[in-house]
Subunit: 242 residues, 2 copies
Amino acid sequence: MSESCLIAKLGRYVDLAEADRRVLARLEESEREYRKDQIVRRTGQPVEDLFVVKSGWVTSFSILEDGRRQLLRLFYPGDIVDLAEATMSHAQHDIKCITPAVLCPFPKAGLEPIFRRSPRLTALLFSMTVNEAGSLLDRIRAIGRFSAYERLCYLLLEVRARLSMTVSTVDEGFRLPLTQSDIADLLGLTNVYVSRTMTRIERDRLIRRQGNLVTILEPDRMREICEFRHIHEIDTSWFPQD
Amino acid sequence: MSESCLIAKLGRYVDLAEADRRVLARLEESEREYRKDQIVRRTGQPVEDLFVVKSGWVTSFSILEDGRRQLLRLFYPGDIVDLAEATMSHAQHDIKCITPAVLCPFPKAGLEPIFRRSPRLTALLFSMTVNEAGSLLDRIRAIGRFSAYERLCYLLLEVRARLSMTVSTVDEGFRLPLTQSDIADLLGLTNVYVSRTMTRIERDRLIRRQGNLVTILEPDRMREICEFRHIHEIDTSWFPQD
DNA sequence: CGAACAGTTGAGGCGCGTCAAACTTGGTGG
DNA sequence: CCACCAAGTTTGACGCGCCTCAACTGTTCG
């Protein structure tokens, strides 16, 4: 059996029993390859499957009638796409792959054994969902009250923090596969203004860019600028012991 | 025993077994009164208790160093404040009462029996959390891509939809206990511009105002303006049967 | 009656959007 | 290995939506 992304991710928070691992591994039994920009699911379609991201970046977004677009979330390897839709019979948002990706589809009902058999795993899944909601709150704060400059600092730190969970070399730079239009639609800006502002951030020597490779030169100063605190801890003290 | 808000809310989605009701009722055993504007918990304080809202409106918000403020969520009777912090050992946001309120504090560990004993209730709690994240996504879309006019239409419809779950008379108007500064901080605007825009919305005969009583005259036109679709259904088909 | 707070209105300014054109980059095929 | 094209990025000129500051009005409650 190939390495399970979910087990890798959840295992960072709690020790997983062998039974837990088996349940999780079942969610990644089948896998499917997607091209860059390929649509995974469109708004209005029935939500039958959820997906574990095995590799690549995935996003969910919403498009208004006049074409305005808002990117809602970024999903990275180990994330489940889209737990937020699991309770809906029909999708509220579009989902597409930002990079070539491998996703593991599993039927919604695949969650049921987790809920039924492992209170501990359930608490963990619950906590991670709640944590993801926490990062949505951060983005609401950013979009609602930050200048473009602050928003971009925030986004770069957020991506870096997320990547540093699995990659140890973010200090030497990381690939940002998002176009400036994507970034704009994540942060409520326009591609033009993202370009201008990124250039300013680089001129201020907070970052360096080479193609889509971004190096954050002054993480501490950047953190002050957008009052960024990366807190994705999970308090497991109250978890059931099974 | 007095009426439980939680049971009332959750009972709208699934039939609750007697055991479920007992577990939920325990979360509302003690209650505490709060004044308007009273702080329930400040950023950085340890998160020991969660709260069931019994009456009143509660909000969580974040304040930047220079005073900028962003309201993050509104909690109504039957909601749990703040599940999103349950997994944190220390609070990330301030919580305060917008109106006089009665909250029922219970220790975080009070969730544990739910996870351990009732997979069905757990799935429901999970779904509601996910649904709340869904409304955060709606707000991200609103703040990120809507004009002030659209944002206000969206907020009024959102509040109305939420109130209509417990009150049948929203068509004849409802009280909006938020100040215009609160509304501004919810939507990423300023109180001045909220005032101007509310006046425009009223002049366009979409709403009528008398003090803080708001009547939505043309809900359908308003829904078109901000592409509002109130979907807070919960697909219970995959829930464990206990 | 007056203080404190919420809402309204006006004047002026700025941050970001829009439109458009040039430039850069990476992939493709001859 | 270069020519070419499409996609993405940068830059400039200009405009507008929302912000800022400030004065005034209305309302509530001691």
